[in-house]
Symmetry: C2
Subunit: 376 residues, 2 copies
């Protein structure tokens, strides 16, 4: 079997060693004579995996003692609602920075949730242009965009990386994470969590669906300041309260044990190859090669994202016609490269370069792009 | 490797063929050169699995067209809150029948949720005796217990099988599912879903966490009458609305793809061995042998559950002393039988006999019980 070069936006490629480890012990985990899926979540064998996944996260990122590391369910989409449910209250407002579709979705769900709670949400910045289906984003927000932020907001939410429009905060020093002042900073990092180190202490809360950089779908990782957990609402369902999961080490109810086990495998692989500094260097090299192929070619490929906002995780570009794009994806597929079509809402080509995407795959893609451009 | 005889309450044993299938194709699913975990949830290869899991459920149970089959996340514990969020409204009430700890938890979370919504919940029946930590249940509810039910309730909720106290509705014809009249009947079937056929058309909604009878943790299956979906609240977060998942075939956001794939594998195995009639016969035989060993011995084992309410899924019994119980579990473990300790809240012995527990394991356990009783 040859391994397909998977450039999908997510669920996405996983590191081969993490998958091989799962396969090798799928029927007999840690000599127990059972699959890890068959282990009680209250048993010592599973708990070791659970604890290791938390410890690896803490170690890789240097998560300070001021913050809890939680595993939740429901996807980032459920967390769009759980966040305001925990942190908003009547008469208060939360700020949202919109730099793409996912930030807009998070805001939409928060608005819906705030209505139910008698609270408000507020768009602190929106870098989009155009309306309705034609609305598009080509850059992240900068300090000047944030002049309207509410200094007494419950939190300020932004999306570190937008998968559909290919813009990302923090890649270029000129496009840092927003400064929220004394307001707790909250980030949806679903699509770029652990692509490199970041200063956790700056954040009130960070959340990430696992299915891009850290595991299979069905797991959401949350890193949250303990003070925010303690201050959260107590009148919402117990299962939705962050404190319930913080107080029970994410074992209040049965967690998605196999998903967390896979996250452990992925994080162990990440540590084994040198941790976040090593993966950052690898990710930067992969993206640099691809953007060079886009910009340096004979004009067949064009990326309209502002240079400083360009995502290292999701590289989006266009070809002269939609027919060219169709042919591009089709010919690439014949060479074993899949997941290259842009999101159905925007079209074009999208190349996702998450941690597990091998540098050799990018070399193969860049080679193909050169051929394609030459042959026309 | 010899396979451990896993009598855990959940996550529990899975059918070996379902696990072997997963192992064999873990790196190369359906000839795609990728793991099923790496497949896009919008791709044809994953969608086929997703559709097959739904079709197998429909086929095995004969789910009528009046009902949707959904896959959600968050565990049954999250559904304890999602249920009233969808179906309760200001001034209305829902009825709960309590026959064990899980029904009580569902009621507690519903009460919490109802407070937030300005609605009510009402205990229609509680077969428990004693208070606080000493509260115990030894039987399910019968018609006479339900005299206090509210004929205008939004729904009547009960728990078909209680894992901790070992009582189950519907095993004995004298202990049928409650009659809710015109009120929609709702059941938490987490611990006995698909142990046999049941008449889906009688139910407004049925839900089940997967990690007992149908798959790994992280997946919740819901079968719901379309009319109830349509009548559900629209002012709660979109991700929590059943209609969102019904309208999008549970693909509104990224579902737990690997978990649903495993459910597919388990259901395919179930169909392959003869479907629900075959598994019912197998389950009845397993439980009959075990209860015979309890009742027919020299008085070492005693089960205090009312005979007609005895669970075929979780068989609970006591030995003369706690030290005997400790020794029983320890000696069984040496013989490769695990998961036999009762829930930490009640002690004793608990034997879970879910679908994937092999008849040969029960024979081995019964043999050991005979030895244990003889030797004292």
């Amino acid at each position: 079997m040859s391994r397909t070069m998977n450039f999908s936006a997510g669920p996405a490629a996983l590191p081969l060693p993490a998958l091989e480890r799962a396969r090798d012990e799928l029927l007999d985990f840690a000599g127990t004579g059972m699959s890890v899926m068959e282990q009680s979540h209250r048993g010592a064998d599973y708990e070791k995996v659970h604890d290791e996944a938390i410890a690896l996260t803490r170690g890789l990122l240097g998560v300070p003692d001021t913050h809890d590391v939680l595993f939740l369910q429901g996807g980032a989409s459920a967390f769009f609602a759980l966040l305001p449910m925990n942190l908003l209250e009547k008469g208060r407002s939360a700020d949202y920075v919109l730099t793409g579709v996912w930030g807009e979705k998070a805001w939409g769900e928060a608005r819906h949730t705030a209505n139910l709670l008698g609270a408000q949400v507020h768009v602190a910045a929106d870098t989009g242009t155009g309306d309705g289906k034609a609305k598009t984003w080509t850059r992240v927000a900068v300090a000047a965009d944030l002049k309207q932020r509410d200094p007494s907001a419950a939190y300020l939410h932004f999306t570190t990386n937008e998968t559909i429009h290919g813009v990302q905060f923090g890649v270029d020093p000129a496009r840092p994470f927003p400064d929220s002042g004394k307001v707790p900073l909250v980030a949806d990092m679903s699509s770029d969590f652990l692509w490199r180190k970041f200063d956790v202490s700056r954040f009130g809360l960070v959340y990430a669906g696992a299915q891009k950089n850290i595991g299979p779908s069905g797991v959401v990782m949350v890193i949250v300041r303990k003070e925010l957990v303690a201050a959260g609402r107590k009148d919402i369902p117990k299962i939705f309260q962050l404190r319930t999961h913080a107080e029970n080490k994410s074992l209040y109810n049965t967690p998605p044990t196999f998903g967390i086990y896979m996250v452990r495998n992925v994080l162990a692989w990440l540590q084994g190859i040198g941790g976040l500094d090593a993966i950052e260097a690898r990710n930067r090299t992969k993206a640099a090669k691809l953007y060079a192929a886009i910009d340096g070619g004979p004009g067949v490929f064009r990326c309209s994202v502002e240079r400083e906002s360009r995502s290292l995780m999701n590289v989006v570009f266009r070809l002269p016609t939609e027919a060219d794009e169709e042919r591009f994806a089709k010919e690439a597929k014949k060479l074993g490269m899949i997941g290259l079509k842009g999101h159905r809402s925007v079209g074009g080509i999208r190349v996702s370069l998450y941690n597990a995407v091998e540098p050799a795959w990018v070399d193969a893609l860049v080679g193909f792009m050169g051929e394609f451009a030459r042959k026309g």
